[in-house]
Amino acid sequence: MSATDTTTHPATPPAAERARLRVDLARAAHLVAPAWPLEDFVAVNPVVGLLEAGFDAATAEARRWFGARTHPGPSALRAASAQGELDEDDLRIAVIEVTGTLDGPSPSTVDQLVDDLLGRADPPAPPVRPRTALERVDAVEGLDRAALVDAEAARWCGVLVDRAHLPFALPDGGAYGAWRAMAAGDRGLARLAGWGGRGGRGVRAWLAALPERADDAVLDLLDALGVAPTDHAAELRGQLARLPGWAGYARWCDEWAPADAPVPHLGLLDLMALRLALDALALRGAGVAPGQVPVEGDPAGAPPVDADGRLILHALEGAYRRRLLTALDRDPMPGPAEAAAQAVFCIDARSEGLRRHLEAVGPYDTLGFAGFFAVPLRHRPLGSTEAYASTPVLLTPAVEVPEVAAPGAEAEVARRQARDARSMAAGRTVAAVAHGPLSMYALAEGAGWLLGPAAMARTVRPRPPAPAATAGTRVVAAEELVGTGDGTTVGFTLEDRVLIAETALRTMGLTAGFAPLVLVCGHGSTTSANPHAAALDCGACGGNRGGPNARAAATILNDPAVRSALAERGIDVPADTWFVAGEHDTATDEVRLLDADAVPAAHRPALAVLADDLVEAGRRLTAERLGRLPGAKSGTGAARARSGDWAEPRPEWGLARNAAFVVGHRDLTRGLDLGTRTFLHSYDAEADVDGTALETILTAPMVVAHSINAQYYFSTVDPDRFGAGDKTVHNVVAGIGVLAGEGGDLRGGLPLQSVWAADGSGHLPVRLLTVVDAPGDRVEAVIDRNPILGHLFDGAWVHLVARHPGTGTWRRRLPGGRWIAPVGCSPEVVPA
């Protein structure tokens, strides 16, 4: 039997066919969201490709293609009830609203429904009907060959993404070409094809007969699987649905990876060619000819509806909305008349806690703003050869802001760098010896006697690593030529700096009443042996620590040239106001002040007081936070130990329990304990009559907040399909992702321990509730101008509450644009 028996290779397919394949593949790929490598770990809505279809349709697609749970189960109700975030009244209201007719169910029926719901077990994941040709063959015979293909395909994806580390040059032709060269030695393929004894030769011949180009191969292989051209998109979608993790990574490679990405490219076409080849081999093994593959009109059947899930979600969201709006329904609470300092924090939900405690400790006024502080920079840490984008992923920053030695500290910094270079060289040498096939034995033998005690100490008394030193360095925010001769220009032009400063100040509504000291505080999280560390860092900085952005923002805002330009534009920053940068470590709640040695002497006393108050605020927040972390001891020491503990699967809760995005002045929320569940964005409605600032807030930071919220939501409702699963079995693959255990698909989303705890204290899955302290008609105008907001609000991905233009009372916007009272029974809320 020659390789061309089932895969006949006609002349090169015409360009039209290739073009149609690209269209089909792009359509199929809507099912999976791009997955960033772990070092950035950008939060994405896992069904973002189906965003335009709206929440209900998108989740229905996810159920039918992935067999995923898309709505919270009764266990989430019990968790919410245990956390005090839901009571039986909330449930009763939800039951009445959802089952609501004019008559309504009788009270006893409602009570019965409520009891029933609270006591029920979570439903199983919805069944999946065959999606691919091979699955249909399997279904006939009651076999599961497709699972074998999944395992092999996933294994190959790892090897292909890691291929830069192989000691030889692979042939051209991208990942697919590399696979063809390497697969020749894989004995598993022969077994898949049922070739048994003469496996090696058979596989080599078959691989050699495949087309050179991945797209041609996909077309040929679809033929070999008996898929009609009209079914190509459905087959491809089915293939992607079977390996969503690597498919998401491939989408990232295709659409988001920078040209100089440090990992080899694995595109969707490569992935498809590889998977379909394995499917074709398995089909040979099954002895089924292409013509005999069963065909199904609708590959996945009608989308099942999860009625209970919708009710539960409705109850959880209603309960939270009622609690939040009840709290907000009060007179604004003004801040201190003379603030000792203002502090600008990231909108991150964790900042809410620090802001609340800081305001309670002293006369401080706090603001919320996206943690990249409107400085779209590429940061190059001291001595690094690589600059990384530290902005929301929607931006592609062009300007580099490096960290360099500060004037006068060059010698000290050079010494530090030489020391770092020595330890890097030592580390590299040890790594080389550890990997040498002849040298690794003596190394393990010798190193073990040293590493053993170190590991023991690290286990018994964990301590966080020292943060990267910033003493003696500065970030170059203003345009400057670095290097000699053909050096490159870094930093922002004056025009850019003024624009950045003005945008930041106007958007957050800080245009007057500056305190003598303004803290610009980014955030990051220090954790140990944590592949998902970036998930705890600043989302507005693309999964990086926010310190460099805070330093750049403070530098720009202290710049006399910028100040005078701002004055011309109507923002008078007093000469005796100083901006100082800081970074909040969310794992320990310690705030590190950055570039503090550059602070003028006149501000030093105030800064010292602020530093002390930040310590106290951090201490209080730690106490609050540790109370919610299962198994945590109390005290700052405990938080530090947890932060440095390599055994700890949950160093902090991150953004778990996030639920709302509040756009408004701090007076609206000051003094309220919002339980670190809200993103708080400062906004001055009176100064923004045309809605420019609001438009920026809703289309940029709110979209990021939605992505984070959706990531937490889906990782919670199905930790296996949308989440990364149990962290304790994670196995980092190719430096870009994790596997659960030995193999299987790349696991996207958040680890189970980031959203769930055995005691029920984890994330409560609700869709984001955006509260805008501005008239509804202004919000409506902004929505009209921005289709993305239409998708989010009308598609019910995000709920919206704003002020009634006339009465000023809170109103809730329903998908489609009707505004209703936000609290209470509103039967028409839920479409039948």
């Binding site: 070092e39 993404v161 030695g185 077994r191 060289a425 040298s439 590493l451 053993g452």
Partner: protein, 538 residues
């Protein structure tokens, strides 16, 4: 020590030895009791900590008073230096890993099973370490085998169960071989006192086994069977994959297995040293298996894209080296390796999650150094360690080392020294003279410490190790290994050869791809809990 306290001491110390072995087993049993389950992890952790103290106490007793024994005449348990070494390693490791696991698996509703299995593994390994006679040693071995399987599958999830099945099949082959070997020995010469293996082997060597028409030398057969057990536990070819499969279990389980359980094979062969010497055919075969495993597993470790998979593959290579050390007559090197590798691998597994951070740091600070010309670099890498190590060899007075030990230690040190010098030339941005100077300093200090460590351990354990002519010539085995590695490295640069090799090596260790026609579709599961991986109190 005099007077009354001395009598108390000699009565208490054997009791302590019994306690050392029994306490983890009792704790394991207790951990399974429903009422104790919530505290099972703390219980076993505390007991493991206690065994560290007990080991230290026994060691001090041994130093003062000779081996501690339980049972008169032919001892059931005997705590000698070799026992102290293995007991020290496993008790410290178990304590560390359980401390880690207590936090890492705090929310795992089935962690009590892990605690019980870890207690069983600890108890079994301590029984193995302190066995005074062959039958006891085999008992400890079997307990540890059961514990390994229980550890791998403790969660009861499908992946874990499959990995446990695989491990049990692979280990069962070795265990069966060990049982047959023990049966033959018991039948021919009775139970063997492990303090007097030599005479028993001599007795055994005089006997033949009739297998149908074949008349086989009994010593060869028994040793060969024991070597099968050792190789299986050490994850050598062809049963290489079970160890990779165990990655289905959480990180602490991997640390326990790779650092603790796989070592038993090396220990067994060192303990039964005279038997190895009496079975040249079996020893040569094991050497060949070890060399093949080293080359293959080291290759697989290079190819595996996943951190834990690469660590698992490298364990097989490391264990191959340890077994090789035993058969070439370098038991002290084998034991140094056992201890060093155990701690090395445990810390690598526990810190496996650092991979992402380390990769980013490495990339952002790439090597700025321009390495010297290849010939210069190679000359330095090959020449410098030769000179420095020779000087150390003479300086430390190592001429008297037995030949197997000498060759193996020298070769391992030289390979590491050459690799380190080569790497340092490319990693440190300084003048060649400075790099050479630094390399010399490092080689002197690290190499000296290494040589002193291995030979020092050899001197300490000398009375327990055998010194007859080793069955396998170290030069031949090491030459074959070096040759194979060099050939593989050369092949590794030629795409046409190397690319398919990657396909082959990458597939090694995965569960065998079954014939598609035999893969049944899973039956629909009953309604699952919200979080199938972990049982919690929702």
């Amino acid at each position: 020590m005099t007077g009354e306290s001395y009598f108390v001491y000699i009565e208490v110390v054997p009791l302590l030895l019994v306690l050392l072995v029994a306490a983890p087993l009792v704790a394991a049993a207790a951990a399974t009791m429903p009422r104790l389950r919530p505290w099972s992890m703390s219980l076993v952790q505390a007991v493991a900590g206690g065994t560290v103290v007990a080991t230290a106490a026994l060691l001090s007793g041994r130093v003062l008073d000779g081996p501690v024994t339980v049972g008169a005449d032919r001892a059931w348990l005997r705590f000698d230096d070799l026992s102290a070494l293995l007991a020290g390693v496993v008790t410290l490791l178990a304590t560390m890993v359980l401390t880690y696991a207590r936090r890492n698996l705090a929310e795992d509703g089935r962690a009590w099973r892990l605690a019980a299995a870890a207690g069983l593994l600890l108890g079994g390994t301590l029984l193995l370490a302190t066995a005074g006679r062959l039958s006891v040693l085999v008992g400890g071995w079997l307990l540890a085998s059961v514990a390994v399987v229980a550890l791998v599958g403790y969660r009861g999830d499908p992946a874990g169960r499959q990995a446990a099945r695989r491990a049990s099949t692979s280990l069962a082959v070795g265990d069966a071989a060990l049982l047959v070997a023990t049966g033959i020995t018991l039948a021919l010469v009775g139970d063997v006192d492990l303090a007097a293996v030599g005479p028993a082997v001599t007795e055994l060597s005089a006997r033949d086994l009739a297998l149908g028409p074949l008349l086989l030398p009994a010593a060869e057969v028994v040793t060969a069977l024991m070597m099968i057990a050792a190789a299986g536990r050490a994850a050598q070819l062809p049963v290489f994959g079970w160890l990779t499969g165990t990655l289905a279990a959480p990180t602490p389980v991997s640390a326990l297995l790779h650092a603790g359980a796989v070592n038993a094979g090396g220990f067994l062969l060192v303990r039964l040293g005279p038997a190895v010497e009496a079975a040249p055919v079996a020893a040569w075969t094991l050497a060949a298996v070890a060399v093949a495993t080293i080359v293959t597993a080291a290759g697989a470790a290079l190819v595996r894209p996943d951190v834990k998979g690469a660590l698992a593959a490298s364990t097989s290579a490391q264990m191959g080296f340890m077994l090789l050390a035993v058969v070439v007559g370098a038991p002290a090197a084998a034991l140094t390796h056992l201890v060093g590798h155990a701690f090395y691998k445990a810390s690598r597994f526990l810190g496996a999650g650092e991979a992402v951070r380390l990769a980013v740091g490495d990339r952002r600070h790439p090597v700025a150094a321009t390495p010297p010309a290849p010939t210069m670099r190679a000359a330095l890498a090959l020449g410098l360690p030769a000179v420095v190590l020779s000087a150390l060899w003479v300086g430390l007075g190592l001429d008297g080392l037995p030949s197997g030990e000498a060759w193996l230690v020298a070769a391992a040190a030289y390979a590491a020294g050459a690799q380190a010098t080569w790497a340092l030339c490319g990693a440190w941005d300084r003048s060649l003279a400075l790099v050479a100077g630094a390399a010399t300093g490092v080689l002197l200090v690290v190499g000296g410490a290494y040589l002193a460590l291995v030979t020092g351990l050899g001197v300490l354990l000398d009375p327990l190790l055998t010194h007859a002519a080793p069955p396998v010539d170290a030069r031949v085995a090491l030459g074959a290994l070096a040759g194979a590695v060099v050939l593989a490295a050369l092949a590794g640069r030629r795409t046409a050869l190397a690319a398919p090799l990657v396909g082959f090596l990458g597939g090694l260790g995965r569960s065998r791809v079954p014939r598609p026609a035999t893969v049944r579709a899973p039956r629909p599961l009953p309604a699952t809990r919200p979080v199938p991986a972990l049982e919690g109190s929702w």
